[in-house]
Structures are given as structure tokens and as C-alpha cells.
Amino acid sequence: MNKNDVPQDNSRTYSGHRKVIYATDEKGSYERVESSGWEAEEFATVMAVEQLEEQAQDALARVHQGLSAPLEYHMYNKRLDIPQLAQVTGLFQWQVKRHLKPTVFTKLSHSKLQRYADALGLSITALQSVPVP
């Protein structure tokens, strides 16, 4: 890629940062060029972020309907899913799935709650509550 073709699209996903792209000058010599973003990349990132946010919002609605535990909302809100949450807590996926049920979640031991709280970077109180609709 020629350095004049390095995209400078001011992507919102870069939040004002710049990334290095290797590109060639008029003589074909490579140099490091700073890019403020590329629209194509931004689109793909935003699509992934929106997918995660949508999952969190869906979970939040289920929590308010009493169909799911606050844990599900916090899991998606911290950009995790069931396999990942199982991995970071060292629990089995079936255990995590079970803990997403409101009836099971309210009876969780302090140590289990602490484990989830640590993995999600929250306090236990924060873990047990969700934002109001």
C-alpha cells in the first residue's frame, strides 16, 4: 500500500488514537505511517460491539421479567459469554448455566458469588443488582 492510500477515516473505535500501518513512499521504500482509522475496520468492530450490547440489553430485559439472574446481564455487559465466564471462573459451563437461573442465583454461597465478582471486576452488591429499566 502506498502511504497516500493509508486510510485516515477518524474511526470512532480508535477514540482519537492512531495505529501504525506499514506503507511505501514514492520510491517504494517502507515506512511506518500513522492511521486515524479505516471505515471498513470500524464497521466490523462496531458490528461486534453492538452484538455484545444487544445481548446485554436482552439479558437485562429477562432479568427484569424475572426470567434470568443479574449474573447473565453482567456477563454480557463485561463482554463475556457462557464458555468464557466458565473459563475465567474455573467452573463448568453447566454450572454457569444453572447459576443464570434466578432461583439458583439467589441461593449461591458467598464464595461462589465472590468468584463471579472477582472475575467480572465487581463487588458482590453490584453483582446482585442491575440497572433499572
Binding site: 477514540s15 471505515e39 471498513a40 464497521f43 468464557q84 472475575a119
Partner: protein, 334 residues
């Protein structure tokens, strides 16, 4: 109290691991660019790994696995690094402090998600990020993160969380620093071997690795609408490929350009017309990767009709262009 490594100079890089290795070597007086580090480590690759899932989608890697670049360069150039992992987070932080107080430059493996200076949209649970700590100011660490324009700061609790994040590729507090770097490094001597090794990786006799892997993914794209029932899922999958390619750890095209830059530097150092030509061909391969990403996004945005066959052809062309380079480099003697 401030303690920091004197005369440290931040080096803005395209990729974290190559940036860290290059920074360490430059700090110790060696002129090893990021591209040279990448090339010497035979870092270019392609791997489609369906058993490792990121938010339910397969891992697609465009370079060798984490830590292989540091270890690869170390082996080629014959310097020594100490690697240390910790089971106790507090001990891991104390040991880091001790080294930083001595004015050492220390490399760390971390999660991206817990680093507060990362833009919100780039914070994903990716555990194989690399950064350098070059000092400490009260309770804040002075950090040189190669993918940022300038040095940054990080508070202790966040850095601890990032170093001891759990899950796939968990860093386990990994820290590393050079213990011995010789006065002169055998760069020219090692270039041909590193290139041949990389050719071997791209020609790996495994269906989902190297050139075969690129063609495998191309075949997968061709049949995507049969495997995934909804158009939304197809688009998320395509978006995921682009994201793995362009954002997470620089990605497909980016790495091709870094490698082309390495080939150009190698051509100058060895005075080789062949490598110069290879560099130009690799640039074309990188351009083709960008074209593929652009076309995929256009289709996701509905600016163009969803045409999986033409996308699959774009990707096949990437493989063909790369193969033309590696065919020649396989036998490269210098």
C-alpha cells in the same frame, strides 16, 4: 517517588509483541526494527482454528502464536531472556516492582480488557497482549504499550487484574526481561534461515494452516449461507473475519505489509535483488487482503449484494499471491 529506566525511548509499532522485542533490543543499543524482529521470528502465518471460539466464532490467526515471536528472535540472535510466571498475584506485582526499581525494562503479558487506557471499543477479552513497564511514579506504572502513539500510565489494581486475567491464553503474570545481550547480533547470517522457516510454515501439510488454511477458509465462505441460516449470522461471521484480520493484533493485511517491509530491509542488508522483488510481491498480497476485507464489509453494509462466491474468490487470490512469493523463498540461500 519516581523511578524509571533512563533514556528509554518509546517506539510506536503496528503489533504488540514485535514492538516489545524491538523496543527491548533498541533500548540495549541494537538497531532491530519491528519488521526485522517479525521476519527473524518467522512470524507470518495463517491458521483457522475452529475449536478456539471467540464469542462463539472461530479463531483466525494471521501470525504465529503468542510468545513465539519473542522466543523466535531470541533463538536467532542468541540473546538471553528470563521468563517468569506467578501463581500469587501479590508476589507477581512485588517482583515487578523490584525489577522496575533497579531501572530494568520489563515485558509483561496481559489481557486487553482490564487496561484502562484502551479505548472502550477495543476492550475485548484477549489475553495475549504485550507491553513494557519502564518505570513507576508513586502507585502508577509508566507503561510503553507499543501499539499506542505515546507512553501511558496504568494504576496498580488494573495492571494486576490485566496480568492475572484468567481464561484462554491466560498470562499468569508472565514477565520477561533480557539477562544477556551480546555486543553484536548475527542479523545477516540468520535472515535466510528465518525466511526458509517461514516458507515451511506457510506450506504446512495441515488443512487449516498456511496457504492451505487460507484456501480452506475460502471454501468455507463459499458455503456459508448453507451452514448459517440467517443473513445476519452470515454477516456477523464475515465481520468477524475482517475484525480478526484488521484489528485484533494487526491482522492479515497488516502482517503482510510488515513482512514486506522486513523483506525490503533484508534485501538491503544482503544486497539481494530477489528479496526486493519478493517484498513487492508481498505488498501486492497485502493489498489483496485489504481488498477482500473491503468487499466483505461492502456486502455487510448492503452497498453490494451478498455474493459469497466472489468473496471466496478474493480470498483464494490472497493465497495465490502469497504462494507466488513463498514458492521462490522456499529455496532462498542468501
Amino acid at each position: 517517588m519516581t523511578s524509571s529506566s533512563p533514556t528509554f525511548r518509546h517506539y510506536h509499532s503496528a503489533h504488540c509483541e514485535t514492538g516489545v522485542v524491538s523496543s527491548i533490543l533498541q533500548h540495549h543499543g541494537h538497531d532491530i526494527s519491528e519488521a526485522m524482529a517479525f521476519g527473524l521470528a518467522s512470524g507470518l502465518s495463517f491458521a483457522y482454528i475452529p475449536i478456539v471460539k471467540l464469542n462463539g466464532l472461530p479463531l483466525i490467526a494471521y501470525r504465529m502464536p503468542p510468545k513465539s515471536i519473542i522466543k523466535g528472535v531470541q533463538k536467532r540472535l542468541g540473546f538471553n531472556m528470563a521468563f517468569q510466571k506467578f501463581s500469587d498475584a501479590a508476589k507477581g506485582m512485588d517482583t515487578l516492582d523490584k525489577h522496575v526499581e533497579q531501572g530494568k525494562l520489563v515485558g509483561l503479558q496481559t489481557s486487553v480488557y482490564w487496561l484502562p487506557y484502551f479505548p472502550e471499543d477495543m476492550r475485548f477479552h484477549f489475553n495475549a497482549h504485550n507491553l513494557l513497564v519502564y518505570g513507576k511514579d508513586n502507585e502508577e506504572y509508566l507503561v510503553s504499550d507499543p501499539v499506542f502513539e505515546d507512553v501511558v500510565r496504568c494504576d496498580k489494581p488494573s495492571l494486576q487484574k490485566a496480568r492475572f486475567a484468567k481464561g484462554a491464553l491466560a498470562p499468569k503474570g508472565l514477565m520477561y526481561y533480557p539477562t544477556h545481550i551480546p555486543k553484536s547480533l548475527p542479523v545477516e547470517r540468520e535472515i535466510p534461515g528465518a525466511i526458509r522457516k517461514n516458507a515451511k510454515i506457510m506450506y504446512a501439510p495441515l488443512p487449516m494452516i498456511g496457504l492451505k488454511g487460507i484456501r480452506y477458509l475460502s471454501g468455507k465462505i463459499r458455503k456459508l449461507d448453507k451452514q448459517l441460516k440467517t443473513e445476519r449470522k452470515v454477516k456477523l461471521y464475515l465481520g468477524h473475519i475482517v475484525r480478526m484480520q484488521e484489528e485484533i493484533g494487526t491482522g492479515g493485511a497488516g502482517f503482510r505489509f510488515i513482512y514486506a517491509s522486513f523483506l525490503q530491509e533484508a534485501a538491503d542488508r544482503l544486497n539481494s535483488a530477489q528479496l526486493k522483488e519478493s517484498s513487492e510481491m508481498m505488498t501486492e498480497a497485502g493489498d489483496q487482503w485489504r481488498q477482500f476485507a473491503l468487499n466483505a464489509v461492502k456486502m455487510c453494509k448492503k452497498r453490494a449484494n451478498l455474493d459469497l462466491d466472489s468473496l471466496a474468490d478474493d480470498l483464494r487470490l490472497c493465497a495465490d499471491k502469497e504462494q507466488a512469493v513463498w514458492r521462490e523463498l522456499r529455496k532462498f540461500k542468501g
